[in-house]
Symmetry: C2
Subunit: 323 residues, 2 copies
């Protein structure tokens, strides 16, 4: 029987959101539980099972679920495990896909959030019909999902696509949470933008700025955006600087996999032209002629509220139908 | 009928080498013609046709050729064309694969040298059985071939794998032949090594060096290698510097496609541990823990003299057998 629905589960540090999705990317219903509530993984899975079962029943979807796709930090597609995720309550290596599959009796696939976003975009969003594109998520951190020939690139061990940790500034640069220095993520993320703003404010003490009304340590990327839109020079310079760095990184990605488009998702992507104009300019300037003017920078077409669930759910369409 | 042989043609700026190859990578016979002899592409194809036909006849291979694979600079796999190759005598866009196929009546595939090397390594060499690896050719320039899930990555337009032109030093760095600055190729190629030696000799004028016996502009990477092996400090430092840069680049490649191995080919790869030890150290130092100690750096297993023909020939095994 061809089953008409899939389930997407997005596991974030705070909330776990799950929903039922049809083949056109319509989200029938969603619900959520608190990720941190259960220090024991078994208790968490039990609450997830109860919540999701109810959602399925309420939506008349029993026996209509083809499979479950899960997006989670530090998830490994090949092994189905979540491995040493610093922001989740369960330590070590959790056989997550297997545990969920055992509970629900349907196939389960798991990958990290950025990979899920890429597959979601290819299935329902801005990358429909594209065989070669790169997904870049610009949130608290920077994540990546690389699609070549219509397939997501997992690499030999499932760890491909760590685009946020390529070294974009060498030598004595910003320290990253990953332990390296100069990672793209330390500049082109929401936290990176706030960090740049603090640096600019400190090194340009003589200049006035709307951002000086906010305690230095409390400045967010949203504050910098608002100030830039209000005409603040320092805030505008922060976005120009961030875009420059992002464009440099994009140019290197393009030389490696030559995508048709780079698709952006996440809080920082909302900055629009303030960020994308300098990004695009720096990208083109750092490309050889054979690549110039060819690569689109696009925004995700998945609705914010549903994007993570949609992305995760898209994984489940890859399962074969039962005979 | 299952045909037992393929033909590989390697088009270099000076010579065009062609050979007949069996499924195990044995080269039955090779011959060559001068690439620059005929300003008219039709004349060149005619000489190639005559030379290769004779080789096929002499080796009793008539009607046993499954297809022809061609490695050439600026070749596009998708379109079968050679496009604006600066070191070849024919200008513009040449429909090379079609022209050769029309002459010989067998399917023809074409790609650039580094991609051909990657497919050759996967078919007959160090990457047999690998589904995820990166080929890096270290010659006059730096070329790349990226294999993911067992497929060479061509990108949306056929231009993927330009690993020699990622920006490894930003800002006011070395000018590259491609028009950009700070490209990996300007450091980690044979010409890059010679350039580094000249820079080091000029900036360390007080230090003795065996290399000072050679006119500055005539120093080759081979001279630097010989001096380093003879214990010359400046020459050794050049290789340490080159390895450092190469390792930094490898670390970024790994974060993007997470290969099982990076396979090296080309003149500079002959430097052995002098180059690979600092490369490996820098690579590991620039990786996050999840990638560390996992990625092998391997040397090509294709014999030098045959490597280019073998690489090109491997393309032709991808053709389906005629019914």
């Amino acid at each position: 029987m061809k089953k008409p629905y899939v389930v997407g589960i997005d596991i974030g540090g705070t909330n776990t959101v799950f929903g039922i999705v049809d083949a056109r990317g319509n989200v029938l219903a969603t619900n959520s539980i608190k990720t941190q509530k259960h220090p024991l993984i078994e208790d968490y899975i039990q609450e997830l099972y109860e919540g999701l079962s109810k959602l399925i029943d309420d939506n008349d979807a029993t026996d209509k679920i083809k499979g479950i796709g899960i997006g989670a930090p530090n998830a490994n597609y090949y092994t189905g495990t979540i491995e040493h995720a610093p922001n989740l309550p369960w330590k070590g290596i959790i056989p997550f896909a297997e545990m969920v599959s055992d509970k629900f009796g349907v196939p389960v696939s798991i990958t990290n959030d950025a990979n899920a976003a890429a597959i979601g975009e290819m299935t329902y969003g801005a990358a429909r019909g594209m065989r070669d594109f790169i997904m870049v998520t610009l949130g608290t951190g920077v994540g990546g999902g690389v699609v070549c020939n219509g397939n997501l690139i997992y690499g030999h061990d499932g760890n491909a696509g760590e685009l946020g940790h390529i070294t974009i500034r060498r030598g004595n640069s910003r320290v990253c949470g990953c332990g390296l220095t100069g990672c793209l993520e330390t500049f082109a993320s929401a936290t990176g933008v706030a960090r740049s703003a603090r640096e600019f404010l400190e090194s340009r003490k003589d200049e006035e700025s709307l951002l000086r009304n906010i305690p230095l340590e409390e400045i967010t990327s949203k504050d910098v955006y608002d100030a830039a839109m209000a005409g603040d020079k320092i805030a505008q310079d922060v976005f120009a600087f961030t875009g420059e760095i992002l464009g440099e990184a994009f140019a290197d990605f393009i030389k490696i996999t030559s995508p048709e488009a780079i698709i952006l998702f996440g809080g920082l992507a909302k900055a629009g032209d303030l960020l994308f104009k300098p990004t695009k300019e720096a990208m083109e300037r750092n490309l050889m002629p054979i690549f110039r003017g060819k690569v689109k920078i696009l925004l995700s077409e998945l609705k914010d509220a549903d994007a993570a669930v949609l992305g995760a759910s898209a994984l489940a369409w890859e399962f074969k139908d039962e005979e």
